[in-house]
């Protein structure tokens, strides 16, 4: 599948390696369009900076966790992600009139599917994290430890508990967490 990787994959690699030279190039080349879209639609440069940063961090996470491979130019993919994120934000907080809604949609078939994948990844991350935050403090504390320290034996030793007890408790907390996720309306739409 190597032949399908777009040369703009270098921007994904730059995110993975925190390569400030290429990241600066990314900002110089691709952020102008995003900034002018957001500024035109009730935003300002600072909000545009936040949106750009949030989108890049999501791309970074997806690339690192799921091995995202860019099969379309970065420009369209990135712009569409930023644009949709901003539209979601303003629709959430106000009923502001939005302009340029249909811009560029027709030429983005390749990018569209990548955008959808990234948005799905972001929604999934958000759902997992928000349900995790809603768990009891005891569960959160135990899970936090098991996430940082790979071996449950080590967690048990630190918490001065038996291994079997820690494993049982972890599975109970994880069970609760998966049920909370499954019961959330967002989960059904993520499954499809």
């Amino acid at each position: 599948m190597q032949s399908t990787t777009h040369p703009d994959q270098k921007y994904i690699t730059a995110l993975l390696h925190n390569d400030s030279k290429i990241l600066r190039e990314l900002y110089q080349k691709f952020s102008g369009k995003v900034v002018s879209f957001i500024v035109k639609n009730n935003g300002d440069r600072e909000r545009a900076q936040d949106v750009i940063q949030e989108v890049l961090v999501t791309i970074y996470h997806q690339a690192k966790e799921k091995g995202l491979v860019l099969t379309a130019p970065f420009d369209a993919y990135f712009f569409l992600l930023c644009k949709r994120k901003w539209l979601n934000e303003i629709q959430k907080f106000s009923h502001s009139k939005v302009t340029n809604l249909d811009e560029n949609v027709s030429i983005l078939d390749d990018s569209e599917s990548m955008v959808q994948e990234t948005e799905k990844y972001e929604r999934q991350s958000g759902l997992y994290q928000s349900m995790f935050d809603k768990m009891s403090e005891a569960c959160r504390e135990l899970l936090e430890k098991t996430l940082v320290i790979k071996s449950l034996e080590e967690v048990a030793r630190i918490m001065q508990l038996s291994y079997a007890y820690v494993r049982k408790k972890k599975s109970e907390c994880m069970g609760k967490l998966t049920q909370m996720i499954q019961n959330h309306p967002e989960y059904q739409s993520l499954k499809n």
Binding site: Q28, S31, Q49, H61, Y128, Q129, E172, M174, G175
Partner: protein, 244 residues
Amino acid sequence: MLTDETYEIFERYLHGELSESEQSYLDQKIVDDPEWAEAFSLYQSVDQHLRFHKQNQEQTEQLKQSLRQIGNETLLEKTNKPIVIQFFNRNKVWLVAASILLLVGLFLFKDGQPMYVDFAQHNTMELTVRGANVTMEIEAQKLFNQGKYQQAESLLKKWLENQPENTEVKLYYGITLLENNHLIEAQKIFKELRTNDLFKNTAQWYLALTALKAKDYKTCETELKQIDSNAPESSKARKLLRKL
């Protein structure tokens, strides 16, 4: 029907602890029972995802800092460009030339001296907060870690007022002051922290950064030289010293 025992089987599977017969039982259940199949897949996905995010937290913060810095430089900072255009419109060629020279000079100066932003990489704030009413503390850490220092400042100040002996909170409050250009107050905090053996070198590093931000390169150098050679801060201190 999924029970606590079901999830314990999933957990033991993740650790490779199932016996052969238990493994066959799990394999069969996943084929026969869609509820099991879905829960098993989700259990693994959640475990992997949370683990990834937790273990990747520090790198994510570093990336966010780089992006914040690049974003500030490319999207927010004012340039001298409009002045050049204005002069150009008036057709005063010598002024254009002078502006260009000035710009070149500024860039040379920028390259000649180390910049604060190149060295201002802060650790993630991960203090344990306990008790029922810790919303403010959690919010303060979140804002700090997102680089929203303006908003974090007042919350950290309040937190420090509640716990004046908490040196870690004091350090992060100092960093926030430094980021928000309250250099004198920041310097005061770091000087107080310097008297604490555990924070001595960190505080010393931040005193150097405060001087760097104030473009007081001589003080910066003096502060850097006081960092112990075996301290974790010593390698970046040497790097900065070389550029001064």
